[in-house]
């Protein structure tokens, strides 16, 4: 054990750490905050491999890490968070791992939505985005019952992308538009908004920040349509379970700086005209 990790294991140190972090986020909240943040939680398996523990444990610590971050974000009242839990491509993984992730997601969603637990504490509505027909029926049913319990919550939203890929999302949106137009349900011409209204994320505010852990610099078929313009992309070079509140803070701070300069620039521009 290194000296740093020995010191950081002291309760007093952890307490102080938490206080500073909480203070920093309070400071951040005095400025403009993003309305929607996306997370690609990558690196759970490599984290497990490095620590020589089971892959399942990697995913579990990934979930714990997510809970910590959600706790921070919902406390400063960020209304919408979208996380990438399971891609359509992930079905190609070894069956036992697919099953393990399915179980974990099911357990996590149920836990999140349970009465008096996370979802109720912050009044969060949990939604599942993805092609539900690909999810095993038993898992789907369990998730559905859990999610239904949070439907009345209005303060914030947690989107869990499960059996999701962005390309599938766009293609399915096109498909339902074609179907509706065939039935003669369209009065106005088709625009980008029409496609957005038929996507899984319909009605959500634009994604302000997309964060991907584990150093990979790809979107991996996540929120392609939503992130191609005004979204700050942040690739972080650490495994998801090691992604801390401080790292998140740095990204949010940069976004808030960019946002405030953008607003100022817009004001100057409109003055000139």
């Amino acid at each position: 054990m290194s000296l740093g990790s020995w010191i950081s294991a002291f309760p007093l140190f952890q307490y102080g750490n938490e206080l500073i972090q909480r203070g920093l986020y309070e400071v951040l909240a005095t400025g403009t905050l993003p309305q929607h943040i996306g997370f690609i939680m990558d690196g759970n398996r490599r984290y497990a491999k490095e620590r020589q523990v089971e892959v399942k444990e990697g995913h579990t610590s990934g979930f714990e890490s997510l809970l910590e971050l959600l706790d921070i974000l919902y406390r400063i009242k960020i209304p919408m968070i979208t996380v990438y839990a399971f891609s359509v491509e992930n079905f190609h993984r070894p069956p036992h791992e697919v099953q393990a992730i399915m179980e974990l997601v099911q357990r996590s969603v149920v836990q999140l939505c349970q009465l008096g637990d996370f979802a109720d504490q912050y009044d969060v509505q949990v939604r599942i985005l993805g092609d539900r027909s690909l999810i095993p029926p038993l898992v789907d049913a369990a998730i559905e019952t859990a999610v239904q319990r949070t439907i009345k919550n209005k303060t914030a939203v947690l989107n869990i992308c499960f059996a999701y890929t962005a390309r599938l999302d766009i293609a399915l949106s096109m498909r339902s538009i074609v179907k509706e137009s065939k039935e003669g349900r369209f009065k106005s011409p088709i625009t980008q908004q029409t496609i957005e209204q038929h996507m899984f994320s319909k009605g959500d505010p634009p994604v302000d920040i997309l964060i991907r852990s584990s150093g990979a610099q790809r979107l991996s078929d996540f929120l392609l349509w939503e992130c191609n313009d005004d979204t700050l992309i942040a690739f972080v070079d650490c495994y998801w379970p090691m992604f801390t509140g401080f790292q998140l803070f740095k990204i949010l701070l940069r976004w808030s700086l960019l946002y405030s300069t953008k607003i100022k620039r817009k004001l100057i521009y409109s003055d000139q005209n």
Partner: protein, 258 residues
């Protein structure tokens, strides 16, 4: 720990300044480095150097794409200069094709001029045995200039992104109205094959110029798993950034969900 609202606000402004000064320090440092490098090497005239660098890469992107920024102050000339540079480096590095994205579409307005400048530069840049010609292609209009065998350079802009997906949806609707298409036939593969023809296939590596990490309206469908490299510099695309992007790519290991 509680702060009064004013104190918190002041601290936030202070933190913003720290980030801002840090960024300024980095860009000044970069300017100095690139000035020193620029005096030491004249990269724009030396294709051998690029070839030597590329030969050290473990894996090269076959299809490279770059996002270039148009500004009123530097004008189209700067954009053309950037394009010509990146075409030269790509050919010298032995890549297969290049797609240049520029949001406004001003770059693809005068292809003939671009082609002329490109050919002139290539003649002086490449050694005789490697001299290649370039085929410029504008997917949106379907126009192409240059020989069929030339190095393929596609020029795209914002209209090739979401707008093209909207247009494709419209034509699907028309086909469906005439009973030429069943809505169930619309799958990811089917849409992909159309968009590959209408725009470009997905690139392997995307190098994004510009100070901040945004994607500037790049066609979303083509972003699926391509490696993205942000130069985080507002200055034009320089060789070091190009090389860094390629090095990043050669170290990337795409697992595709597995």
């Amino acid at each position: 720990m509680t702060f009064t609202a004013n104190a918190s606000r002041a601290i936030l402004v202070l933190l913003h300044w720290i980030v801002y000064l840090h960024d300024t320090y980095l860009s000044v440092k970069w300017l100095v480095i690139s000035w020193i490098l620029g005096t030491a090497y004249s990269l724009n005239e030396d294709s051998e150097l690029v070839r030597a660098d590329a030969s050290k890469l473990r894996k090269k992107p076959r299809h490279l794409s770059v996002i270039l920024q148009y500004t009123n102050t530097s004008g189209v000339e700067a954009l053309i200069e950037d394009t010509v540079n990146v075409v030269c480096w790509s050919i010298a590095a032995g890549l297969n094709r290049l797609t240049v994205y520029e949001r406004t579409g001003i770059l693809k307005e005068d292809c003939d001029l671009l082609q002329k400048i490109l050919n002139n530069r290539l003649q002086s840049y490449m050694s005789a045995e490697f001299c290649t010609e370039v085929k410029l292609y504008v997917p949106h209009t379907g126009r192409s200039i240059g020989p069929e065998s030339g190095f393929l350079v596609s020029l795209i802009s914002e209209e090739d992104g979401k707008e093209t997906i909207v247009d494709l949806t419209k034509s699907f609707c028309e086909m469906s109205a005439k009973d030429q298409l069943n809505d169930q036939d619309i799958t990811v593969e089917m849409v992909d094959s159309h968009l590959q023809k209408l725009v470009v296939p997905e690139p392997d590596l995307l190098i994004v110029t510009g100070k901040d990490s945004y994607l500037y309206g790049y066609p979303p469908w083509q972003l699926r798993v391509c490696e993205i490299y942000f130069t985080n510099k507002s200055s034009p695309l320089d060789y070091v950034s190009f090389l860094k992007g390629c090095i990043n790519y050669s170290g990337a290991n795409i697992t595709l969900g597995r």
